[in-house]
């Protein structure tokens, strides 16, 4: 089975801190994604990457950046954390459009 591992289940950070959320997949997938999940809003795409060093903005990229230096690792960066970035963050990877995604367990980030 494909595994997508998010390094932290829970994080508490202070306003203004730089925050790194790490995601690693073990099945050589080309595509990787970062979503945030909020009650009543479902999952919203922040950034995605279809190859090493390639990235594209999703629907809500403001306040975030990403890094993909190796195929298996996709990092989400909050340059200066704010309270409205308190959320559940989900990483996913996929081989192709028809296969669907494999998700990590999520990181619940609280910014105080």
């Amino acid at each position: 089975d494909v595994k997508v591992t998010q390094s932290s289940r829970y994080l508490v950070k202070r306003t203004g801190e730089k925050v790194f959320l790490e995601c690693v997949q073990d099945m050589d997938h080309e595509n990787m994604f970062w979503y945030r999940q909020d009650p009543g809003l479902g999952l919203r795409l922040i950034y995605f990457s279809y190859d090493v060093k390639m990235k594209e903005k999703g629907d809500i990229p403001e306040g975030y950046s990403v890094s993909r230096e190796k195929k298996e690792r996709f990092s989400l960066i909050l340059e200066s954390a704010s309270t409205n970035q308190t959320s559940m963050y989900l990483c996913a990877s996929s081989l192709s459009a028809g296969v669907g995604y494999t998700f990590g367990s999520g990181t619940r980030l609280t910014v105080v």
């Binding site: 997508v4 080309e30 595509n31 994604f33 979503y35 009543g40 809003l41 479902g42 999952l43 919203r44 795409l45 995605f48 990457s49 279809y50 594209e56 999703g58 989900l90 996913a92 996929s94 192709s96 459009a97 028809g98 296969v99 669907g100 995604y101 494999t102 998700f103 990590g104 367990s105 999520g106």
Partner: protein, 115 residues
């Protein structure tokens, strides 16, 4: 641009009763369709998908969904639910175009199964 509407935010149902979770989508091109389930404090797990062919697709845990192109719907059904089906269910659509398989998700339906 693609979009997904899940018409019910919450669906309460008794154990062993049938259930239908509704999903409608909008897209100007052909799409793939998916249903995911999220149990408490977990990530999302793929339930089933429609790519092409038969419009009735079967998934895990006894769920099935029917693709209706004319009504742009992909409703999820189960003939008899169990307590363990209590979870949040997400419908998602992916346009068959582009380099990366972006999924657009609905806002989710919380299925609450009680005795």
């Amino acid at each position: 641009a693609q979009s997904v509407t899940q018409l019910d935010s919450q669906v309460p149902v008794f154990e062993e009763a049938p259930v239908e979770l509704r999903c409608n989508y909008s897209s100007s091109v052909s799409v793939y369709l998916f249903w995911y389930v999220q149990y408490p404090n977990q990530g999302l797990q793929l339930l089933l998908k429609y790519l092409s062919g038969s419009t009735l697709v079967k998934g895990i845990n006894g769920f099935e969904a029917e693709f209706n192109k004319s009504q742009t719907s992909f409703h999820l059904r189960k003939p008899s639910v169990h307590i363990s089906d209590t979870a949040e269910y997400f419908c998602a659509v992916s346009e068959i175009t582009g380099t990366a398989s972006k999924l657009t998700f609905g806002t989710g339906t919380r299925l609450q199964v009680t005795l």
